[in-house]
């Protein structure tokens, strides 16, 4: 194999200049010519990359693959995430049966019924932020004024934290998912957040209300099933997984719609809730913002897409290119808010599919159905070519989005 190594592409692969919404052309070539093939990572390791929609689904639903980051072959994103994984184990790093038991402690907080009950409060948050924005300076950076505050405030609602914590959540989450996080800064931010969340467990234990932390305090902490630290870790997971992701989908989704005016007017003027639901799924598919993709290690030999993957081999399921697989999505390069797209794998697939996806869906539906309707003249305040994008971050997005109306 040594003579094949110079041919091996490095991962992640750069997007083409001037195509901020499209995955790397190299990924497209792999999808066509070598859908299961090796790539080289930052540390010299050479895991498999899986690109087809059907193969990504099959892989992520296969109990023979593991998310155990302590396995030698696990394909780590970078040195910082490797170091953090070594001391913080969340749901995302657990296999069954531990994962099954831990996840079931949280699934009741994300049922469709509970999310629908939250919808009016999310609508209120979004409307209030738009009121504030309209009363403030014009033009404004939509990322700071709107895209980041929406998930900060929704997470406050969910955890039952006072809104005053939004600045802390905002700051910590930014530090933890930066392009090139500083290990010491990331550790300090993580500790500051944990201290806050542990105090919140005590407050909720003393005065429970209707939120995730109250329920965990009463059902798990009081009974001795979970420690304060363990509950704080759950809170940290919900924040890291639910903050920057949603913010990027709001700002990058808006950028994509502004770049496709016919699609924007369909969402804005359609007056059809089903179309907004579709649009949210299509934007999730089209933008596939999880840059780190889905990473696994084989626990046994297995075959994917006709290739034998050996026990101990690392595997990266590239959801962003699977979501552009023409066998799953006809004319995949076209943003079409009317298409049926909910079989996308933007939230992953299998037992580790995003826990918070029902919440993310409601947040995006509320935002996409409200922002453009309330500000129908919303427009970019600078040419699209001047925007810069988070090329190397955990979650892809637009850095600043100057808008006017």
């Amino acid at each position: 194999m040594a003579d094949a190594l110079p041919e091996m592409p490095t991962f992640p692969m750069a997007r083409a200049t001037g195509c901020p919404f499209d995955p790397s052309p190299e990924l497209g070539r792999r999808l066509e010519e070598a859908p299961v093939s090796r790539v080289r990572l930052w540390d010299g390791s050479t895991p498999w990359m899986v690109t087809r929609h059907a193969d990504v689904r099959a892989l992520l639903a296969d109990p023979r693959v593991s998310v155990d980051v302590t396995q030698p072959g696990f394909p780590h994103t970078n040195a910082v995430s490797k170091a953090r994984d070594a001391h913080m184990k969340t749901l995302m790093q657990m296999d069954a049966p531990e994962h099954t038991a831990q996840r079931r402690l949280l699934t009741s907080d994300f049922t469709i019924k509970r999310m629908e009950a939250l919808r009016p409060r999310i609508q209120r948050i979004v409307d209030d932020l738009i009121d504030e924005m309209l009363a403030g300076p014009n033009p404004v950076d939509l990322v700071e004024a709107f895209a980041l505050p929406v998930p900060s405030l929704v997470i406050c609602e969910l955890l039952g934290s006072p809104y005053t914590a939004r600045d802390l959540f905002h700051r910590v989450s930014r530090t933890l998912v930066m392009d090139e996080p500083d290990p010491e800064q990331a550790m300090a931010a993580s500790q500051e957040l944990n201290a806050y969340l542990e105090e919140l467990v005590d407050k909720k234990n003393a005065e429970p209300s209707d939120d995730v932390f109250s329920r965990l305090a009463v059902e798990q902490y009081r009974t001795g099933a979970m420690t304060r630290r363990e509950i704080a870790t759950v809170g940290q997971l919900l924040l890291v997984a639910g903050h920057d992701t949603t913010a990027n989908m709001i700002a990058l989704g808006t950028t994509a719609l502004l770049a496709h005016p016919d699609q924007l007017s369909a969402v804005r003027d359609g007056g059809d809730p089903a179309l907004v639901t579709n649009a949210a799924e299509e934007l999730l598919r089209y933008l596939s913002i999880t840059h780190t993709e889905a990473r696994r290690v084989a626990r046994e030999d297995l075959e994917i897409g006709g290739r034998l993957i050996r026990k101990g081999d690392g595997i990266i399921a590239v959801k962003s290119i699977a979501n552009r697989d023409p066998s799953a999505f006809p004319d995949p390069e076209t943003l079409d808010v009317r298409r049926e797209a909910r079989h996308h794998v933007a939230f992953g697939f299998g037992a580790h599919q995003c826990l918070g996806q029902p919440l993310a869906r409601v947040e995006l539906q509320v935002v996409y159905s409200t922002l453009y309707r309330r500000i129908p003249t919303l427009a970019l305040a600078v040419p699209l070519e001047q925007l810069t994008f988070k090329e190397n971050a955990v979650f892809y997005g637009v850095r600043e989005l100057p808008v006017t109306w």
């Binding site: 996840r103 009741s108 994300f110 999310m115």
Partner: protein, 65 residues
């Protein structure tokens, strides 16, 4: 069409409830799938098929009846 569900495999994502609310529900206590009817009328079957296709846990099995 006959539907069977695997509550052990279910991860409570609620995708089936979104796709086909007439046929699927979730337990309040842990979000695990509950089947409201196991032999849906033809008008519901397209949504049920979609639910089984998008279930991330492959917990919904459809058999011809």
């Amino acid at each position: 069409m006959k539907i069977t569900i695997d509550q052990h495999a279910c991860i409570g994502s609620g995708q089936c409830v979104l796709a086909s609310p007439e046929v699927f529900d979730q337990r309040d206590a842990d979000g695990i799938v509950v089947l409201l009817q196991d032999s849906p009328e033809p008008g519901l079957q397209e949504d049920v098929w979609e639910a089984s296709r998008i279930c991330p846990a492959l917990a919904i099995t459809l058999t011809p009846s």
